[in-house]
């Protein structure tokens, strides 16, 4: 496990930094869209085991469109268009059930929740995964520093994860929420924050000084909180669906979902932070 982590860190991190620092966002746009499609497929397989069939083709089409959106808008963010496309996506998914499943069981004629369940989960996966995930691509396309904003997300999450892992492994005594995640400890939470601060310091030194260090510290605390909650949230999904390893494409490596789960909310937070810092003229 530790070896895996080190290998992923040794190869993945430099590659990620390289991709994010490239001037042309198109590589990230295409690569992330591709990974998004894999992640969606993992979600599909995960839920299929529980006899829930999300409308994977509709979701896939919208993930593809939302992910590649910057290609149609001059490689720049366009939130109004993004929001419009997302809303249309939700609408189409809601309507799809009408045509896919009858509201009553065909044999017995009794009311059936089958279609409702698939629809509800489709909307859920669409908003939680497809929209939030492709929002990372919008952050990359935000402006000339988009790649650096995205690296803020990655630095904070990866350093936090590592901090939590080591602190939990060597110091962990007191369980945080044993019913949701049997391994997460309060020591891990503290380690998460410490890792966060280290990560953000490295970010400030090596990557980008557009944010002041004081701002970065405050941002890192906020992102730490968010990362912990999104971790627990994903554990919650896994527990309730009874799946441990969501990886389909890279078995044993945890898959795209495991790599991206804590990024989703953190990314949203960074996007909002960048938005308001530009709004108020700090950034």
């Amino acid at each position: 496990m530790l070896r895996h982590r080190l290998i992923i860190a040794g190869v993945g991190v430099p590659l990620l930094i390289f991709l994010c620092m490239l001037n042309n966002p198109v590589y990230i746009v295409v690569l992330f869209t591709l990974f998004g499609m894999i992640g969606l497929w993992e979600f599909y397989v995960l839920l299929r085991k529980n006899k829930i069939f999300i409308y994977v083709y509709i979701l896939g089409a919208f993930t593809l469109f939302l992910g590649l959106l910057p290609v149609f808008t001059g490689l720049r963010a366009d939130l109004p268009l993004f929001l419009t496309a997302s809303s249309i996506g939700v609408f189409i998914i809601l309507c799809a059930g009408l045509f896919l499943y009858p509201p009553t069981d065909q044999k017995t004629g009794k009311p059936s929740m089958k279609g409702m369940l698939d629809t509800v989960f489709s909307v859920y996966v669409f908003i939680f995964f497809c929209v939030l995930y492709t929002l990372m691509i919008q952050l990359r396309a935000w402006d000339d520093h988009g790649g650096r904003y995205l690296l803020l997300v990655f630095f904070s999450v990866m350093a936090g994860d590592s901090g939590a892992y080591f602190a939990g492994r060597y110091l962990g005594r007191h369980l945080l929420m044993p019913k949701i995640s049997p391994k997460k400890t309060w020591e891990g939470v503290l380690g998460n924050f410490c890792g966060n601060i280290i990560g953000i310091t490295l970010y400030y030194i090596f990557i980008y000084r557009g944010f002041s260090y004081t701002h970065l510290l405050m941002i890192s605390l906020l992102l730490g909180f968010i990362a912990i909650f999104s971790d627990l949230f994903v554990s919650y999904i896994k527990r309730s669906t009874g799946v441990k390893d969501s990886g389909v494409v890279f078995p044993g490596h945890g898959g795209v979902l495991d790599r991206t789960d804590s990024l989703l909310f953190t990314n949203l937070a960074v996007l909002i932070i960048v938005h308001y810092m530009q709004y108020s003229g700090i950034l």
């Binding site: 001037n23 001059g74 963010a77 109004p80 000339d144 530009q278």
Partner: protein
């Protein structure tokens, strides 16, 4: 292969798309203007570096007064900040500052700043940075015609005496050569009342980017595109 022509001596830029840039990020238009000012700073630096002789920036047109008062006020505020912040580095970089446009409606303190910087940089020999404030190509021509009429009334100008060069004296850009390259950003394909008389033979370049997104690289692309054109001025090449 077409023969490459030298760098443009005079680049004029219509800095369009600030508001739309901001809107596509759910930000207020004024934030777009602030980002636009930043772009103006980097592009000015790049032009100095590339040894462009004249750079004209269309910062505020006479029609811009029709925008909401708050936006107009903020725009002037940012222009004032830009001038105050940049004046020292402009002078250090041997840049000469010039203003073209109708001085009357421009807020007094901004006019004051411009006059001061223009005065201090008058002897500079590097690039000339021309800022078009409260500018309109048509009113510029009309003002020039009116001056001609009054000269002619005073018998200082006779009928048929005025030629193109003579007329130029009455324009805001009297001692500035015509632009070689006009860049307009923001995916609009119009001249919008900018340097109407001077742009007769200017090469036009339209960029789909919004002005805050316009980078050094885009400027170089525009110049490359210009270099590969054949300028004939109405005659035949070769």
């Amino acid at each position: 292969m077409t023969k490459e022509i030298p760098l443009p001596k005079h680049i004029a830029i219509i800095m369009d798309g600030n508001g739309r840039w901001a809107r596509s990020r759910f930000l207020p238009r004024t934030v777009g203007h602030r980002e636009g000012i930043r772009t103006a700073q980097t592009i000015t630096k790049k032009c100095i570096e590339m040894k462009i002789e004249y750079l004209t920036l269309f910062a505020f047109s006479t029609e811009n007064w029709n925008r909401p008062k708050k936006e107009v006020d903020t725009l002037w505020k940012y222009l004032d900040e830009f001038l105050k912040k940049e004046s020292q580095s402009l002078i250090e970089n041997n840049v000469r500052l010039r203003m073209i446009g109708i001085a009357e409606r421009i807020p007094a303190d901004i006019m004051d700043t411009i006059d001061k910087v223009a005065e201090r940089s008058r002897e500079n020999t590097g690039m000339t940075l021309v800022i078009a404030l409260n500018y309109s190509g048509r009113s510029e021509i009309i003002r020039a015609v009116n001056e001609c009429i009054s000269l002619s009334n005073r018998r200082e100008l006779k009928e048929g005496e005025l030629d193109e060069q003579g007329f130029r004296r009455f324009l805001f850009t009297a001692d500035i050569p015509d632009p070689d390259l006009l860049i307009r950003t923001g995916n609009e394909i119009r001249i919008s009342n900018f340097l109407l008389f001077q742009c007769a033979y200017t090469e036009l370049y339209f960029s789909p980017r919004y002005w805050p997104d316009f980078s050094d690289k885009d400027l170089i692309d525009a110049i490359e595109s210009y270099k590969n054109r054949t300028r004939k001025f109405g005659s035949v090449s070769e």
